[in-house]
Symmetry: C2
């Protein structure tokens, strides 16, 4: 492993994308009722028109609009009722001038009819005649056969994260199954002589393993599946064994922990040894999150990442690097964000991209973002934030009142 | 069932809350690694300080800050190195005036020391002496024993929807399990003679069952579990049997479909018959979504709701009524929303709350909300929207440039 200089976030992602070119997320077909939140793996083209026939949007009478010209409250038009369309039936009748047929909401409009007059504006006049007290324009209360979806239309795009309404839309065009990307699998390793498990009693000098649980949550929030997790002492042989287990088990192997240089170098050495690419990024120009290490192992189809020990940094870098790579490979939309106005001056670290946690408030003026400040490494500060902003590396900070993009966390 | 007048959304929710008082979501303990997105059922109080001991945030030397007064690049202070604190160890030494000890990032700071000087500003001078080229104030690069979390502090509140960082925080204070609300279970019934299943070939007059799949997605997005779903013809006996099956299977029984008055009355009649409360809301002053029916059956602990056939209305009303009731009963935060500026004049329906789908765009000026217009009943319009706004019943509409709250969908 050669000595590497620190990469920008963009450069690190570009290298990772390039080196992992051979690693392609697999796809599978699933039933639409199980598809919420999954990423669509192919564009969905409708093979049909929806609704497929002209439909009424009201309970009323299907008429020729031209027959109703001049109709009004004091001057009804009289039409002959030639039928009564039942819900769900193919209306066989054809409406000619002077005729009409009853149609309930959602039923098929008979051929010939061009509009629907709501029944409130109609009155039964004789056994087979009604008086119409309102004029209708062509198309009134009519949904055209291809008005919801037209045959051949691309209704959902590859990369779409499936929402409830998409499940309804897929049902409407007869797609009962959908090709989605298989979730990436993750194996999470936390290292550190100072780490104890959450169920151990507290000890002087030791802290509980926070990163494993935060990273499990972050991976799950991106839709990834956790294949395993373990906590190990800072020993190269232990790390080597753990990374081997991770490579066999999962697509993504995360090693988190160690902020000291010696530890990071040990992690880099192991990831270098166990990857086909070797370590190609050793340090990223972000704050917090500098000690990030990236490598790819093509024989096992796995991505190896050393993340900072700093819990906030580990979670954000996981999303900014591994999440971004997933989005890139699946065509998925960027994570949810919103615009807000920062309410205070904020210094950043020129030359490094700064991630700043913020709390969001809704006001009459729009969204207000208030920085959540806290010493490096404190997980509690992150639970008080609604999101984070990214301050560009060529800025020295932000001025109160500036508009910022907030990524929800 | 008496004849009922249309309720406001608030009134309908108030009645539903009142009538369902006896129905309380159950709770259960789950492991924190499986807790993402669940609603916490009790406040979480930390029983410990975190980190529990004074910790260094840098690789460096633990010193008495008072010893470094006046130290600078050209005027070092000389200190005696009396120890080397290992990561994860209880540092037994005590630092006295003129002394120091090496501490790696994250390690325990020995008693007596009040600050850490980064190793970059120190130089080995002799076997057991260093030169310090920087002065440090008390507390520099030191995290206090209770700085992340203090014993007795309420760190997470009942009703919190668990985020990745919360999972880390819970681990840090030794909570390996967390009491959460059990998901509500849902049974979804779509009614209509015009409905065919998504896997059936299209037929004139028939449309595929959209609502079942949209509602499955919406229920899942609220964390509910789907116990079953079925599509039935418009016959009272069939509906009665289906609702009975739903009551036995689930907490929430949804009947969707039918926009015509006759159908709605049939649904209301069955829900009235099969509920202990009887139907107490029959129609809500919202647009779209008026034909909403509510009842509660205490013997089976179930909530019965008739939702509009209109797919967009069905999804939004489900969230605004059933989702809101869930939030109320669990103390959960309101669904995610953001502020935006509406970019066009928009008419609403005075006397009714109007739900308007919008698309969101991020600009230098903030979030812009553009109404997504489309004929009533078209599901495709909803897939083009990022959220919806709620226009109050006493407004006649909105003016371009007004600030609105957008609920993400």
């Amino acid at each position: 492993m050669e000595l590497l200089k620190v990469d920008s976030l963009e450069k690190a992602l570009e290298k990772l994308t390039d080196k992992s070119m051979g690693i392609k997320p697999e796809t599978k077909k699933i039933k639409i009722e199980n598809a919420l939140g999954r990423i669509i793996a192919e564009d969905v083209i409708s093979g049909e028109n929806v609704p497929g026939f002209r439909r009424s949007t009201m309970d009323g009478y299907a008429v020729l609009a031209s027959d109703t010209v001049g109709a009004g409250e004091s001057m009804p038009v009289f039409l002959k009722v030639v039928g009564n369309v039942e819900m769900g039936e193919d209306s066989a009748i054809e409406i000619k001038a002077g005729q009409c047929a009853y149609v309930p909401t959602g039923a098929m409009i008979p051929d010939g009819a061009t509009a629907v007059v709501m029944e409130e504006y109609c009155e039964k006049f004789s056994e087979d005649q009604i008086a119409v007290y309102q004029s209708a324009a062509d198309g009134t209360h009519v949904v055209e056969a291809d008005e919801d979806v037209a045959r051949g239309e691309k209704i959902l795009q590859r990369g779409r994260r499936i929402k409830p309404q998409d499940m309804g839309l897929l049902a409407s065009v007869g797609h009962t199954e959908i090709e989605v990307y298989k979730s990436w699998t993750c194996y999470i390793i936390s290292t550190g002589d100072e780490l104890i498990d959450p169920d151990e009693p507290p000890q002087k000098g030791k802290v509980r393993d926070v990163n494993t649980y935060g990273l499990i949550g972050m991976a799950a929030s991106l839709g990834f599946e956790i294949k395993g997790f373990e906590k190990i002492k800072d020993q190269e042989e232990l790390l080597e064994d753990a990374v081997e287990r991770g490579k066999n088990a999962a697509d993504i192997v995360i090693v988190s922990g160690g902020s000291s240089k010696g530890k990071k170098d040990a992690t880099a050495k192991i990831l270098d040894k166990l990857s086909s690419s070797g370590v190609f990024t050793h340090g990223i120009a972000v704050k917090p999150g500098k000690p990030t290490i990236l490598a790819v192992d093509e024989p096992s189809n796995s991505i190896l990442a050393g993340l900072p020990g700093h819990p906030v940094a580990a979670l954000i870098v996981f999303r900014q690097i591994i999440g971004a790579l997933w989005n890139h490979k699946t065509g998925a939309e960027e994570e949810l964000s919103t615009m807000a106005q920062i309410d205070t001056n904020l210094a950043s670290s020129p030359g490094r991209k700064t991630f700043q946690l913020v709390k969001l408030t809704h006001t009459e003026e729009g969204n207000i973002a208030t920085p959540v400040l806290g010493k490096s490494g404190l997980i509690y500060t992150m639970t008080k934030a609604d999101g984070y902003i990214v301050i560009d590396r060529n800025l020295e900070g932000l001025k109160a009142g500036e508009k910022v993009k907030v990524y929800y966390i």
